[in-house]
């Protein structure tokens, strides 16, 4: 018997069956797979409106990400430039080829040198948008694709993420639901990112920047309105 048949037969025998489950059971299981039923979602993942935004900010900072709030899209380039300066980083970045990011007036900061595309080994700063922010744990949810190369999330030492208040969701489940609305299949990679890379492998002392970014900086575009409509 080949390994596949052998393993499946072994499982069935252990479960006290000769073959696969009966048709009715299989139909129930299929329905479970397609039903996307949520299990218990903790209360803090079910918050709405301003509370949700504030929870995201609090938890993102708890994860050792840094965060700057700007009132409008027009303030984003300035916030990015200020951040790079504050970290003594050169005003040079690799930006995801994401149309969403074109909404920000980068030309207003002519000193910023911006290249678009996937990350190259020498890139020091990567800038991306996010598919969603997850308030529950201050997590960013990013999807791989032509507009958002995954290497930007991992290769550069500094990862700057621009996220809009209306992109903040409560829970991971909200993230899956939103994703299923726009696509019937998952992209190659869904990255949930909660704070900068770290390791405690040497005597359990926390060090940031193990292999991924040493700094994760979030620019939150938040006009202060009751953002909680998008779900």
């Amino acid at each position: 018997m080949n390994a596949r048949d052998d393993m499946l037969a072994g499982i069935r025998k252990a479960l006290g069956r000769d073959g696969s489950a009966d048709a009715a059971t299989r139909a129930t299981l299929q329905a479970r797979l397609k039903g996307h039923k949520q299990n218990l979602v903790p209360k803090r993942g079910r918050v709405q409106g301003r509370e949700k935004i504030e929870a995201f900010v609090k938890m993102a900072e708890f994860s050792l990400a840094t965060l700057a709030r700007v009132r409008s899209a027009g303030d984003v380039p300035g916030a990015v430039a200020d951040y790079l300066k504050s970290q003594n980083l050169p005003p040079k970045l690799r930006m995801a080829p994401d149309q969403k990011l074109d909404a920000y007036p980068w030309a207003s900061k002519p000193l910023l040198q911006i290249a678009r595309g996937k990350a190259e080994p020498e890139d020091e700063v990567g800038l991306t948008g996010a598919f969603a922010g997850i308030a529950e744990t201050g997590t960013l949810m990013l999807l791989s694709g032509p507009a958002s190369p995954s290497t930007l999330n991992f290769l550069p030492e500094t990862h700057v993420v621009v996220v809009r208040a209306e992109e903040i969701l409560g829970s991971y489940e909200d993230g899956w639901a939103k994703l299923r609305q726009i696509a019937d299949k998952l992209p190659r990679t869904v990255n949930f990112i909660t704070g900068p890379s770290r390791s405690g492998d040497i005597e359990q002392t926390l060090q940031l920047g193990a292999h991924g970014p040493r700094r994760l900086h979030i620019v939150l575009v938040d006009d202060g309105a009751d953002a909680g409509t998008e779900r």
Binding site: T25, H36, T151, S197, E203
Partner: protein, 473 residues
């Protein structure tokens, strides 16, 4: 060295006493600090207990229909352009992985941390076949350089002090022109990061494990804090996932539920830094990602635990909470257990995977304080299963005569906690005089031979149970 190639579980007793005398190890083990962080993280999530029940039910449901979910998962892997390879034994898995690596002419492969890789002694095998395996998790990298097996399932180098890391780097990094003796963990991390960055960029294939496999979508999920697993799978031409069937969950929602427990129970984080869901190879328009995606699904003894009194063990998500809270593990470290999985989860899993004749000493390496079960996010009844193993061992007459005699007495008392405590307390007065540091492992007259591994905090003249009761007040 690899435990999978040369288990030393039979010598647990000798291993343990050597570990207790090893001062460097004792100092290193003192840094293990996950328990406090876990307690705080659990306290921040009022729903934690309810989530444990749900997580247990999700896995029980999956195991009950494992054949269905495996087939559903396989169909989705293929639909998304990936390949699935079924392997019964370590030999089959190693051979499959080697063939895959060779198919892309691989000379070096990066490795995300996988305990299953340890189980099949993958690194020595790849080396013998002319492929350089590079462990990229910092802890795994350190012990790979040192030629040691991991001693903890999520903090593999917990037994190594920073001075030892410095010495190892000085010796092994000279080849890269690094010749300074480092003193601070920060510098050590920087040096390793620099060297490993080069390895990431030139690897031909990347091998990761999986914390979850999702039947609904054919995805594999890994969680890391360093980002090494992501660079491992993102940069090379080929991503190979090495996983076992019990990693399956039905849906993304189910995975999300268990993920809420994993990091909290492990390191006391709210969420791991990187939770990465991978489905198939890169898509046509993707600017990066691996061109090939392969899942090697390995049994290696799991299926034989299904439908037995050890089935619950297959719920394990390898969070390490049971190790971190185990007084025996804390006292002797991971290597004493002599195989891949240490601590309470290892004491149950190892006899199931390599046989009770090899690993019969491990289920005895317990104080039956019950802490492991009480912190296990998947509610696995670890002490009960250790008792099952001892009964099996007893039935098989594997124990020496004295241990068999002792087991009968012990089994009687252990099922009656009050009696057990009453009987063990007087023994403490004697043990107090014999006690050593932290008061570990002294003979308990009650049950003869095999109880000599029990952790009895001798000097205070109190039983382990009493101390725990006081400490947790």
């Amino acid at each position: 060295m690899s435990f999978a190639e040369a288990p030393t579980s039979r010598n647990f007793k000798q291993n343990a006493s050597a570990a207790l005398r090893n001062e460097t190890l004792q100092r290193a083990m003192g840094y293990l600090g996950f328990t406090q962080k876990r307690a705080e993280a659990v306290a921040r999530l009022p729903e934690f207990e309810a989530l444990r029940d749900q997580a247990r039910d999700i896995k029980d449901h999956t195991l009950k229909h494992l054949d269905f979910y495996l087939e559903a998962y396989e169909a989705k892997v293929m639909e998304s352009g990936g390949h699935m390879h079924w392997c019964r034994t370590p030999e089959e898995a190693r051979r499959t992985i080697l063939d895959l690596c060779r198919s892309v002419g691989a000379r070096s492969v990066t490795r995300g941390k996988t305990m299953i890789g340890e189980e099949i002694a993958l690194n020595p095998f790849l080396e013998r076949n002319g492929i350089e395996p590079v462990e990229t998790d910092l802890g795994e990298y350190i012990i790979q350089l040192r030629g040691e097996p991991p001693s903890h399932i999520i903090a593999p180098a917990i037994h190594v002090t920073k001075e030892q890391v410095a010495d190892t780097f000085l010796e092994k990094h000279a080849a890269y022109g690094k010749t300074r003796l480092l003193t601070e963990p920060r510098e050590m991390l920087e040096e390793a990061r620099g060297i490993l960055r080069g390895k990431f960029l030139k690897a031909d294939a990347g091998i990761t494990g999986a914390n979850f496999l999702v039947a609904e979508t054919g995805s594999s999920i890994i969680v890391t804090n360093e980002g090494n697993g992501d660079l491992t799978q993102l940069l090379p031409k080929m991503h190979i996932v090495l996983a076992t069937p019990e990693k399956l969950v039905p849906t993304l929602e189910d995975a999300s539920t268990i993920l809420r427990l994993l990091a909290r129970s492990a390191t006391g984080q709210e969420f791991s830094v990187y939770t990465t869901v991978s489905t198939g190879p890169r898509r046509r328009a993707d600017p990066d990602g691996p061109a090939q995606y392969h899942v090697v699904i390995l049994d290696n003894g799991r299926i034989s635990m299904l439908g037995t009194e050890f089935q619950d063990m297959l719920r394990c998500i390898r969070c390490s909470a049971c190790l971190n809270h185990c007084p025996v593990y804390n006292a002797v470290g991971g290597h004493a257990y002599g195989w891949v999985y240490p601590g309470p989860m290892g004491s149950v899993l190892t006899p199931g995977l390599i046989g009770v004749d090899q690993a019969g000493a491990l289920p005895n390496a317990s104080t039956f304080c019950g802490k492991c079960e009480s912190v296990c996010p998947m509610k696995i009844p670890l002490p009960k299963m250790m008792r099952h193993w001892r009964e099996r061992e007893y039935e098989a007459k594997l124990s020496p005569a004295i241990a068999r005699w002792g087991l009968a007495a012990w089994a009687f008392a252990a099922r009656r906690p009050r009696l057990y405590r009453a009987l063990t307390r007087p023994a403490m007065a004697v043990l107090g005089r014999l006690g050593k540091r932290r008061g570990n492992f002294a003979n308990l007259p009650l049950a003869g031979g095999w109880t000599e591994f029990r952790d009895m905090p001798a000097p205070e003249g109190k039983t382990f149970h009493q101390l725990w009761a006081e400490r947790s007040r």
